[in-house]
């Protein structure tokens, strides 16, 4: 076992940090404050990601054929840590890099790959993920949006909800039903300017313009928009999720915000108080435990092991870490959550309250840990 970073890993991290230092503008926090799904951050990503791409830091882990450099798993992960800790200047483009691109490489037709991968690799593509529906959240397989075959086209009707980035996305990675049950689900790559698509922003606690409802009314797309085969949708998202198994390295931002909170408390001469110090330590412990559980997943992947249950444990720990840090801030620095004084704490708060819900609720992860990791019997 070796818990230290290699010199090569350190050098890569330094390169990423140097890039962020030189390329993030002085008012970056006031842009990041609006949240990764906001119009402000999405617009910013369209100038930032091309620069990342030019520096070889957008898709370094992708194959050379698609603009990458076949760099190792850990580097991709270090990149993710630094980006998230900086407030995710890639905006929604992180999805392209992490899973949409790799899924297209595996399941896409040549035409789809040629059309979609180059813009992703150059940092100029905004996608949204159309999975959840009003009646299909945790129980995603209950989705009802339907794609009916009509000659060489499909006609799509239905509604998606909580869709991040939909306001500015050019393409939707859409799940729709072509039959019944899990086997009746297919993936469609749908241009968002297709007639019949209507997007409505949902006002929310996490920033304006972050999440949306998307309505599909008689949306006609050619069969060439289908990714893989009819009925292959569930396998495709399982593969996508396995690529995105650990999700976002959220503990990294939490840990750094916690340091910033402690610095603020020290400046106020309030950190000598033993209760404050021990609560800060508790939050830090949650972050470090989450970090180690996430590293275990990355390590498994780096060694080429098949996806197991470690990711479910990691996701539970990440939720605890995010909440402990923002709660620490709200308990001991309540004034920082009003006005403009501390945009980073407020931005962290908005990211933290999402953690246990988006991309599979914490309780769903606990179900999976219980059943698959602890081998407990299925409920009634």
């Amino acid at each position: 076992m070796d818990f230290a970073w290699s010199a090569e890993n350190d050098a890569f991290r330094t390169k990423v940090c140097d890039f962020l230092d030189s390329e993030l503008p002085a008012d970056w926090q006031s842009i990041a404050r609006h949240g990764p799904g906001s119009r402000e951050q999405t617009e910013f990503s369209l100038t930032f990601c091309p620069k990342l791409a030019d520096a070889g830091l957008l898709v370094p882990h992708w194959p050379e054929k698609w603009g990458g450099a076949d760099r190792p798993t850990w580097e991709h992960f270090i990149l993710g840590e630094e980006m998230w800790a900086a407030g995710e200047p890639r905006g929604g483009q992180y999805m392209n890099v992490n899973w949409i691109g790799p899924v297209l490489m595996r399941y896409g037709s040549e035409e789809q790959q040629a059309r979609y991968l180059p813009p992703m690799a150059s940092g100029r593509a905004i996608w949204c993920q159309g999975f959840s529906e009003p009646g299909a959240g945790s129980d995603l397989a209950a989705l009802r949006t339907r794609a009916l075959r009509d000659g060489d086209d499909y006609v799509i009707n239905g509604q998606k909800i909580w869709t991040s980035y939909a306001g500015m996305a050019e393409t939707c990675f859409l799940l729709a039903r072509t039959g019944e049950g899990r086997e009746g689900i297919a993936v469609f790559l749908v241009p968002m300017d297709t007639p019949g698509i209507e997007v409505r922003a949902i006002p929310s606690l996490i920033g304006h313009g972050d999440i949306h409802e998307v309505f599909f009314t008689d949306v006609r797309v050619p069969t060439s928009c289908r990714l893989g085969q009819e009925g292959e949708g569930w396998n495709i998202i399982s593969y996508a999720l396995s690529n995105e198994r650990v999700g976002i390295p959220r503990y990294e931002m939490s840990s750094r915000e916690l340091d910033a909170m402690v610095a603020e408390l020290k400046a106020r001469e309030s950190f000598g108080n033993a209760i404050v110090r021990s609560k800060a330590a508790e939050a830090a412990m949650a972050c470090e435990s989450a970090r180690m559980l996430v590293y275990r997943v990355v390590d498994e992947r780096a060694r080429g092991e098949p996806p197991g249950t470690a990711a479910n444990l990691a996701r539970v720990a990440v939720v605890e870490a995010d909440h402990k840090v923002t709660d620490f801030g709200m308990d001991f620095l309540p004034d920082c959550f009003s006005g403009d004084g501390h945009p980073a704490f407020q931005a962290h708060h908005e990211r933290a309250i999402v953690t246990g819900i988006a991309a599979g609720a914490a309780e769903i992860q606990l179900n999976l840990v219980a059943r698959r990791h602890l081998n407990l019997p299925k409920g009634a």
């Binding site: 076992m1 070796d2 818990f3 230290a4 970073w5 290699s6 890993n9 850990w74 340091d259 402690v262 020290k266 001469e269 950190f271 000598g272 033993a274 110090r277 021990s278 800060a280 330590a281 508790e282 830090a284 412990m285 470090e288 435990s289 989450a290 180690m292 559980l293 590293y295 275990r296 390590d299 060694r303 444990l313 539970v316 720990a317 309780e363 606990l366 179900n367 840990v369 219980a370 059943r371 990791h373 602890l374 081998n375 407990l376 019997p377 299925k378 409920g379 009634a380």
Partner: protein, 305 residues
């Protein structure tokens, strides 16, 4: 960064697992007079003979293998003195006779393993001392599932020329490894129970109220295990306080869950659950317990002002 064992560590772990799977040496049996612990003399002798307690001295095994061993040994229903021998003794610059009992900051009261101990180690800020106490620790009755003893008179202390902070850090790692193992052993036992035991026409383990609590317990235990191994690798004071503090903070809730889901069976001396939970209860209060470990960590990471 590589979180898998190297080849030597993997072999070490495999052979250790074989030894621990021998029920006659490591398994549960009740003790005459309904004692709360069962000292694993046979297991102790086997590990000693095979040189397992010296893992930390070997470059390819190191303190990581030693900490992993303490964790695994603590999962057994029998108890042996392993933590101090495996994680402290190799770093004391002198070959102290084992078993080893340890007292920190002159804490009053009974000391774990004192009745068996041939050496007593004292850790204080003023320095590290040891005394040969062969047979002088009088056994005392205790709630904890450890052999506990009191010193009858002042021992003949000898100073050891080692950095007290380094020893304190190693002892935090050792306690974390033992506490993590005790909780993991208890969890495994409860999981087996709730998979089998049916009420309301279904196994207890199929109830979501039980599943979620045990799943959370597993997340804390496994996270802490990785933190412990990291601390063994770095021997950094912040890492060590973090690992111990994390376990000590969660041990109360985990111990509660384990007893709840075992029902009345967990309160009998005919079932081993107490072997783990009453060791965990002793360990969660060592070195000042979670409150002290949390402050140690805060001081190491942020210093006070």
């Amino acid at each position: 960064m590589r979180l898998a064992f190297n080849e030597d560590q993997a072999t070490f772990a495999t052979v250790l697992a074989q030894m621990l799977s021998d029920d006659t040496e490591a398994g549960f049996r009740t003790v005459d007079g309904w004692g709360r612990f069962d000292y694993g003399h046979a297991l102790d002798a086997r590990l000693e003979e095979a040189g397992f307690f010296d893992a930390a001295r070997e470059d390819d095994l190191g303190a990581v293998a030693a900490a992993a061993m303490v964790h695994e040994v603590a999962k057994a229903p029998v108890v042996i003195e392993c933590a101090a021998t495996a994680l402290l003794r190799p770093f004391l610059g002198q070959e102290l006779p084992r078993p080893l009992a340890v007292r920190v900051d002159d804490a009053p009261g009974a000391i774990r393993f004192l009745p068996q101990a041939r050496s007593l180690l004292s850790i204080t800020d003023a320095g590290i001392r040891w005394a040969q106490i062969e047979g002088r620790g009088a056994p005392v009755e205790s709630l904890y599932a450890y052999p506990m003893g009191m010193l009858d008179d002042a021992p003949d202390w000898q100073p050891l020329d080692v950095d007290p902070n380094a020893v304190r850090t190693l002892w935090q790692v050792a306690l974390a490894a033992e506490l993590g193992g005790a909780l993991a052993g208890g969890l495994a036992s409860v999981l087996e129970h709730v998979r089998e035991r049916a009420q309301f026409g279904r196994p207890l383990g199929s109830f979501q109220g039980i599943q979620h609590r045990l799943a959370e317990d597993a997340v804390w235990i496994e996270g802490a295990q990785l933190l412990t191994l990291r601390a063994a690798d770095s021997r950094d004071p912040a890492d060590a306080a973090l690992a111990l503090g994390h376990l000590q903070s969660h041990a109360t809730r985990i111990g509660y869950d384990l007893h709840q889901f075992m029902g009345a069976m967990g309160l009998t001396l005919e079932h081993p659950l107490h072997r783990w939970t009453y060791r965990a209860r002793a360990l969660r209060a060592e070195m000042g317990g979670a409150p002290q470990a949390l402050l140690d960590y805060a001081d190491a990471r942020w210093d006070k002002r």
